[in-house]
């Protein structure tokens, strides 16, 4: 449960001989200072963070733009991994499958948006959360019924890798990390540099105003849901060689990505990356020193404290130039300032 990338990557312990608990942890701490190991841990952390950022970014687009809480996002990730596995079994090329997983999940996202999500927009409450929670379980059990609960194996397309300072860095992990970073940059550019991005950001900031200015917000919603789902599917396919592909794998990811959203806050697309760096980085680092369970417990504690200190998230409101002022009960007096009563 709840294990990220770290579990499999760190499976060989830092020190292979057994010692008293306390001593072992101290030695582990010292061992991390060893440059080679430190480099390896940093690499693992970076690769774990980028993958988490990729998943969280999909969630972010959906949540930020549509205020829809997609609890099935983890299952979309899982479906991406299963698409990869299913197509590989049928002899389709690995790299082609990455694209296929994104496309399949993108289309699936549109279907889900049109059949379920669209009916719940108007309520503006947490009913999308409940509906997608149910959808997630439906998908998870559906996959379990078709393929069983046993882990499926996806072999990485590139074996081996360079050895630096006594540690081997699997080539596929390097390539996957680079691919994830490239995708993240592409999505950020899509939002900051294209016409679609402009409309999307307008919809995020003020849907009513965007609609009034001629943005087809319903279409934007469908597109952003498709984009978010496609990102989850792509990330699932990309991660499939180093995570165990089981029907329940999505739950971990949706929780971790939502922790990212909570830590970072909604407001800018870059917040997803910052949040992922905090959550994923801490997890990877703590897992290396202690173990994965305690890493996640401490992550929860960190999130708890951050929510107390910054309830809107660390990077909230970065998209707006001005902080949002509380709505005044008095009508604005247009004569005083140029901007209708606000500074």
């Amino acid at each position: 449960m709840f294990g990220g990338l770290g579990d499999n990557i760190h499976s060989p312990p830092l020190l292979s001989f057994k010692m008293e608990e306390g001593v072992r942890h101290t030695v582990n701490l010292l061992a991390v200072v060893n440059t080679g190991l430190l480099l390896k841990q940093v690499f693992n952390a970076v690769s774990s963070v980028t993958l988490l950022a990729l998943v969280a970014m999909g969630l972010f687009i959906i949540f930020g733009m549509m205020k829809v809480i997609n609890m099935a996002h983890g299952e979309f990730f899982m479906l991406g991994a299963y698409t990869m596995w299913w197509l590989l079994e049928r002899g389709v090329n690995f790299w082609l499958n990455l694209v296929a997983a994104a496309v399949v999940l993108g289309v699936f996202g549109v279907v889900v948006e049109r059949t379920i999500i669209q009916r719940l927009y108007a309520r503006g409450d947490l009913s999308t959360l409940l509906a997608t929670f149910g959808l997630g379980i439906l998908l998870q059990r559906g996959v379990a019924m078709m393929f069983g609960d046993r882990p499926q194996f996806v072999s990485s397309p590139i074996s081996g890798g360079p050895t630096i300072l006594g540690n081997t860095y699997p080539t596929y992990q390097i390539v996957a990390t680079i691919l994830a970073i490239v995708t993240i940059v592409a999505v950020v550019l899509l939002f900051l540099r294209t016409d679609f991005g402009l409309r999307a950001r307008a919809t995020i900031v003020n849907p009513a105003m965007a609609a009034a200015l001629g943005v087809d917000t319903s279409r934007m919603n469908a597109l952003s849901f498709a984009l978010g789902s496609a990102l989850a599917g792509f990330a699932g396919a990309l991660a499939s060689p180093f995570v165990s592909v089981v029907p329940a794998m999505g739950l971990d990811w949706v929780v971790r990505s939502f922790l990212v959203v909570i830590v970072a806050g909604v407001g800018s697309i870059g917040a997803a990356i910052g949040g992922a760096a905090i959550v994923g980085g801490w997890e990877a680092g703590f897992t290396a020193i202690r173990d994965a369970t305690y890493a996640q417990i401490t992550v929860l504690v960190i999130v708890w404290v951050l929510v107390l200190l910054r309830p809107r998230g660390l990077f909230a409101g970065k998209l707006r130039r001005r902080p949002r002022l509380p709505v005044s009960p008095f009508p604005p007096s247009p004569g005083l300032t140029g901007e209708g009563g606000r500074e």
Binding site: L120, I137, L138, L251, F258
Partner: protein
């Protein structure tokens, strides 16, 4: 008080508690004709209906979503098991039931404390509860010393309510049926009292229009925290009873399966009613028992579909279908004769507000 007045009060009380009476009669009849295995199943269903009540109080009445109610189930089960093991002298049963409830309240308050402040994102509570249940599941399955790891704790003794001079030791699981029935009916009556009290009306008002309640000067965050705490205690009690009944506590008690099922029970029974989720739990558990062996995954999938359909088409639950009939009854002054706003819908509130925004006439 006149005799007529007393009769009227008694009749009113009977009407208010009619479902509890019917449930009691139904359970007595069932208990009379069921075989031991059926009694075991219905006992476990009764115990789990407490979990459904805990979800219903939060989702159905207050509109807050705790996606990890199983966290309290597991917490209660493990606490009961460990308390029975550690305090083996005398009769630790009372302590073993009280301790989980205290811990349930503590966990609920700790988890929910930052959740209900005005500026916290509303998804925080849903997510943190889900995350806590998953982490507890993982933690219990790796910490072998305390919780027996993934094997769980087995051989948990049946409760022993013996007092000095009074032998109330349970010797077989069938004797659990009256206990669980009594606990559930008591919990039902307690929740009924809670939701029809002034506090309960505030809860429903929070569900329907949170900002308005805050504007009227109620502490929304405080009310939600109290509900979360009560739900935590109920969930933990369910866990303690469940562990006592089935004799084992294992990490899957924290699992998503129990959380989802609790939501399905509430959705099928009708969120925002108390008897509905209890009856739905009993009915679905009995059905599940009949269908066992057909396909567990298929069963869960059907439940998930039903749940999605309820969320989409029946936002007020099955009870919402009959709301127009019962609406008149809920708009009554409370016991002290104070006029409280109607609990269903915001029609009257909207009327009352209209002069404030200056747009009337």
């Amino acid at each position: 008080m006149t005799a007529a007045g007393m009769w009227e009060r008694a009749a009113g009380l009977l009407w208010t508690t009619r479902w509890a009476v019917l449930l009691t009669v139904g359970l007595l009849l069932y208990g009379r004709f069921a075989d031991p295995f059926e009694l075991f199943i219905i006992s476990s269903a009764l115990v789990l209906s407490l979990l459904a009540l805990s979800v219903d109080l939060q989702w159905g009445y207050t509109g807050i979503l705790n996606l990890g109610p199983a966290a309290y189930l597991g917490l209660g089960a493990y606490t009961y098991a460990l308390a029975q093991r550690k305090f083996s002298t005398g009769s630790p049963t009372y302590l073993a039931f009280a301790l989980p409830m205290v811990l349930g309240v503590v966990l609920a308050v700790a988890v929910a404390f930052p959740a209900f402040r005005a500026r916290t994102l509303p998804i925080y509570y849903a997510l943190i509860t889900l995350a806590v249940s998953l982490i507890l599941q993982r933690w219990t399955s790796v910490s072998y010393d305390l919780t027996g790891g993934s094997n769980g704790i087995t051989g948990i003794p049946l409760p022993d309510f013996s007092l000095p001079g009074l032998d109330l030791r349970m010797t077989n699981p069938e004797q659990f049926f009256p206990l669980s029935a009594a606990v559930v009916i008591t919990a039902y009556l307690g929740c009924l009292w809670l939701v029809s009290s002034r506090f309960g009306r505030v809860l429903v008002a929070i569900r329907d229009d949170e900002e308005k309640v805050a504007t009227l000067g109620y502490s929304v965050a405080g009310a939600k925290l109290v509900v979360a705490a009560i739900a935590g205690a109920l969930g933990a009690l369910a866990g303690a009873l469940y562990a006592a009944l089935i004799g084992t506590a294992h990490p899957s008690l924290f699992g998503i399966a129990f959380s989802v099922q609790a939501y399905v029970w509430v959705a099928v029974g009708g969120q925002g009613t108390l008897i509905g989720p209890i009856v739905a739990t009993l009915a679905l558990k009995l059905l599940e028992n009949r269908l066992r062996g057909v396909s567990a995954d298929g069963y869960v999938m059907i439940l998930a579909v039903v749940f999605i359909l309820v969320v989409i088409f029946l936002p007020k639950g099955f009870a919402g279908l009959f709301e127009s009939v019962t609406k008149m009854k809920s708009i009554r002054p409370n016991r002290r004769g104070e006029d409280i706003w109607p609990t269903t819908g915001g029609g009257d509130l909207a009327l009352r507000d209209r002069p404030l925004d200056g747009s009337h006439d």
